[in-house]
Symmetry: C2
């Protein structure tokens, strides 16, 4: 039964799907191997081990998120771009909870992954007239707010029976207001 047609991408994809469906904790070499109808040691032909697999899932997730953000931002500017990026991030996270959770674990060589997510956000700031250090500070604030919201929402951190979608739109309004004000000051 050699050559079942596996490769690294297939293994990582299976792990990411498993994470979305059963939670990040369920991503074990045994479970992933079972998904692929293969014995656990066979995965070592494509991945160095569990740590490596998790790191690759995080990398995959960062790439997908970056693509979603880049797509959302293209053709828009300032407030439109900010809202589109925020909604795209939230929608992606709600659709892929396991992948989003995987982003939380920082791993070596993640520098490129972070950069790919930051690039479209810097472009958004350009629409507000923010450049250089101001843009970086602003990107950090916006990323923190959106990421934190999605993380709290996904983790059940909102106890009150109030639509998180409404809260999120208000958060975007608040960020837009704040960035407009910064824009006017500079």
């Amino acid at each position: 039964m050699a050559h079942a047609g596996l490769d690294t991408a297939a293994v990582v994809a299976a792990a990411a799907s498993l994470a979305d469906e059963q939670g990040l904790e369920a991503v074990t070499l045994t479970a992933v191997a079972a998904t692929l109808a293969v014995r656990p040691p066979s995965l070592y032909s494509h991945v160095s081990g569990l740590q490596d697999l998790r790191a690759r899932v995080a990398e995959l997730a960062a790439g997908e998120l970056a693509a979603a953000l880049t797509d959302a931002v293209s053709g828009r500017a300032a407030g439109d771009a900010l809202r589109a990026a925020g909604r795209a991030h939230r929608a992606w996270a709600l659709a892929h909870p396991g992948r989003h959770a995987a982003l939380q674990f920082p791993r070596p060589r993640q520098h490129d992954a972070v950069a790919s997510v930051v690039v479209p956000m810097v472009a958004v700031m350009r629409g507000y007239g923010l450049e250089g250090e101001d843009a970086i500070h602003a990107v950090r604030a916006v990323r923190a707010a959106i990421y934190g919201f999605v993380a709290l929402e996904g983790g059940g951190g909102f106890g009150m029976p109030l639509d998180p979608g409404d809260s999120f739109e208000r958060l975007l309004d608040l960020l837009d207001d704040g960035l407009q004000r910064l824009s006017r000051r500079s």
Copy 2:
């Protein structure tokens, strides 16, 4: 060597300290037992298992964070209170990275823990004249922003060589501006 003087609180405290010092991944029953000079099965007299231990660490962490926020907010209002709460949250998280990471794992019976963190933040909103649903939406926005910032910072999510402390102060300014504007509208 019976009766080594353990109890549930001591076990949870040891686990929390271990999480801060060596990361949340290092919190295993074996490691905690070693810290306490006890064999792993002995921990079952005080804790139902690993899941229970982690849940209790999260509960402890939420309580400590809530206490820090409550303390920071007392005697202040509006912008002062917001900034004090934000700085207290960030300082606590930087001092206790493992406990902060433990907050990310939602567990049953965490309702009270969430509530204890939310209460002081609702008090802050009162200082801005925000009540009811407006206050809840605002608390969600502020919690998300601060929590997200601390999580990204702690996870190495900021790649650029720019002081995170400055970024955080700007985030607090942005939130304060936004809440003031909401205040004026209502």
